[in-house]
């Protein structure tokens, strides 16, 4: 199943997906993903969380083929909002808004949308190709992993997301721990003991990470909107001019696509650094290398082309550790992991061997999703724009209704709706005091897994703690963990010693990838 077999596997994957039924699922996924991604305030992880209940009852391959479409669709959808409304749809499109909105004001909004769409297609296709070549190599490597290596890897994912989230180290640290704390609720898998249920039977099953994501991101967002709506003025422009790029715009776009794609993919592979960081890094690169760098900030096309390619490429990159190792590096892939778990599947080396049809079907559907995005999106862009006309109060209460619907559909009980409300209040408070939310979701997903690997490691080594440091791979990973952990600590000490030297930058939006 390695090496040259990739191509036969891929052909096999396409033969799984290229049926009318599955193509329909890809198309539905792309359309719904884009539609919801266009809506302001809803990013990819929330889109997938909200759509999970819709896939209940589908067979696994159909569901994952649809997720492939949703995944890239949601990534792409945010760019439309950023370009035409000065509020980005999600954090990974914050950077796009800078130059995209200026372009739209100058009447080049169509070109901005086009460079985003074509750049996303290019980046998504490259990332899928790279995913396909890299994942099997990683799988071969990961087959030697035991419990200590998995423990160290998950710890690395957690410390990376903690180290990279937000400006305040203690806040990010707390957010991760809060997620882990949520993950501990319910029955302990090894001993069957109830934990943190306080006699409440509804809590025995634990706090579903999807519910955590919906509560923090969606319900919390609606409360936040209730508090801020009447005080924020939104600027938007109507789309004028053609959707085609002129010669100069093409020539300036393609180098930015390539830079953005490479930056995005490798950022995505790293745990903890998601689409948002990829788009910021890409913008930095454009500031240094773009031909039109002097124009950046006033509507340079590179400022749209690069970051939009980067955030789509990072989405593909993030699937590498998820599929090959079973370890999510972002809130979006964490929710994807939960989707796998719902179907009784555990991503990782064994999945490649035991469920080859599913894995390669998913990879094939990612190629198709990218193509579908390109075909559907440019012609349909005027329909997506209509979505921006939905009055925000109506839109936000709709999100609220859909959140509670999803939870009720899943659990069939109103007690879980109370829990969702409580999580919404927590999400609102975290947002109010500027805590990052993505580490909470990642912690809630990884908490139970990391604990199992920890206890398994110590059971194997008969309670010898050196097991994490005596195996070579594990030792390297633990060293990286220590570095990821110590850098922000030193940073904090350094900052504290130069008190009030700098005021943090403004609200960068919610890091929700």
């Amino acid at each position: 199943m390695f090496g040259a077999d990739i191509w036969s596997n891929l052909i096999n994957g396409f033969s799984v997906v290229l049926t009318p039924q599955h193509l329909l699922f890809v198309a539905i996924g792309v359309v719904i993903g884009t539609a919801i991604g266009v809506l302001p305030g809803i990013g990819p992880s929330l889109t997938i969380s909200l759509l999970l209940p819709v896939t209940f009852g589908l067979e696994p391959i159909s569901a994952f083929v649809m997720f492939g479409g949703i995944f890239y669709g949601a990534m792409y959808g945010g760019s439309t909002t950023s370009i035409l409304v000065n509020t980005p749809g999600e954090s990974s499109s914050v950077v796009t808004a800078i130059d995209g909105f200026q372009m739209a004001k100058k009447g080049r909004g169509g070109a901005a949308l086009a460079t985003a769409a074509i750049g996303s297609f290019f980046a998504g296709t490259f990332a899928t190709l790279a995913l396909m070549l890299m994942a099997p190599l990683l799988v071969r490597f990961a087959l030697q992993f035991g419990a200590p290596e998995y423990f160290a890897l998950m710890l690395l994912a957690l410390s990376a997301v903690t180290g990279l989230a937000g400006q305040s180290a203690p806040k990010a640290f707390f957010a991760t721990l809060l997620g882990l704390a949520m993950g501990m609720v319910g029955i302990d898998l090894q001993t069957g003991q109830a934990r943190f249920t306080f006699g409440n039977l509804n809590l025995l099953g634990g706090l579903d990470p999807v519910m955590v994501a919906i509560g923090l991101f969606a319900v919390g967002e609606v409360f936040w909107a209730a508090g801020t709506f009447k005080r924020t003025v939104e600027e938007s422009v109507t789309l004028r001019g053609s959707l085609l790029m002129n010669r100069e715009e093409w020539q300036r776009s393609w180098p930015a696509w390539i830079r953005g794609t490479l930056i995005g993919f490798f950022t995505g592979v790293l745990p903890g650094a998601g689409a948002t960081i990829a788009s910021f890094l890409s913008y930095n690169a454009e500031q240094r290398f773009a031909k039109g760098r002097a124009e950046l900030g006033q509507g340079a096309i590179e400022g749209v082309a690069g970051p939009e390619a980067a955030n789509n490429a990072s989405a593909g990159g993030a699937l590498v550790p998820l599929l090959a190792l079973g370890i999510p590096g972002s809130a979006t892939t964490a929710v994807m992991l939960v989707a796998f778990q719902i179907y009784g599947l555990r991503p990782g080396p064994l999945l490649f061997q035991q469920q080859a049809d599913l894995v390669w079907g998913l990879i094939a559907s990612l190629y198709i999703a990218n193509l579908a995005l390109l075909i559907l999106n440019l012609p349909m862009v005027r329909i997506w724009i209509k979505l921006l006309d939905v009055p925000k109060p109506v839109l936000y209460t709709g999100i609220l209704a859909f959140s509670f619907l999803g939870i009720y559909a899943d659990t069939q009980n109103t007690a879980s709706m109370f829990v969702l409300l409580a999580l919404g209040v927590v999400g609102f408070l975290l947002r109010r005091y500027d805590f990052p939310l993505a580490p909470v979701v990642l912690g809630a997903v990884l908490g139970p897994l990391i604990e199992q690997e920890y206890r398994r490691s110590l059971a194997i080594s008969v309670n010898d703690y050196t097991v994490f440091f005596t195996r070579p791979i594990s030792l390297v990973l633990m060293t990286l963990v220590a570095m990821a952990f110590l850098v922000p600590v030193f940073n904090a000490i350094w900052k504290a010693s130069r008190r009030r030297a700098a005021v943090p930058a403004g609200d960068v939006g919610e890091i929700e990838d």
């Binding site: 180290a169 203690p170 109060p393 209704a401 005091y433 059971a459 943090p504 403004g506």
Partner: protein, 150 residues
């Protein structure tokens, strides 16, 4: 005292509560090297430490346009939370369609759509009915029928 220090104290209290919650877990030390209480305990202690850290290093006072400084409309937030609570309480009794119409319509008013009472009402009825039909008929997911009986 800075607000963020109160937040830090809340975190410390939550951490302490969590450690107490962990102490309620029954340890069965018969076969496992590490029992079910160990990691939760460590997490609780970590939360207390993160609270202490935040208290000690609250950072520079927030810039005027950050979320912490934005003046919030607390009345709307309270009304919204109250509405959701009401929604959950009447969910089974009123049925999916009835309760969701209430949520959609009243929610839009709280979020500041006061001049569109009728339009929002129509949207609420249509959306609630569509969701109900799609989920209960098409996807076969059980939603409460309630008073109205459908």
């Amino acid at each position: 005292m800075q607000t963020i220090r109160w937040v830090a104290l809340t975190i410390i209290a939550f951490g302490a509560f969590y450690v107490w919650g962990a102490s309620l877990i029954r340890e069965s030390t018969t076969y496992a090297a590490v029992g079910p209480r160990f990691i939760p305990n460590a997490i609780g202690i970590g939360i207390v430490l993160s609270g202490l850290w935040l208290f000690a290093a609250p950072g520079a006072p927030p810039a005027p346009d950050t979320p912490q400084r934005m003046s919030l409309d607390w009345v709307s937030i309270g009304l919204m939370a109250g509405l959701v609570l009401l929604y959950i309480l009447v969910f089974r009794w009123l049925g999916y369609i009835g309760s969701t119409i209430l949520l959609l319509w009243a929610g839009a008013q709280i979020l500041g759509d006061r001049s569109h009472l009728l339009r929002d009402g129509v949207i609420a009825v249509m959306l609630a009915a569509t969701i109900y039909l799609v989920f209960s008929r098409l996807l076969g997911i059980n939603l409460p029928q309630g008073l109205i009986g459908f």
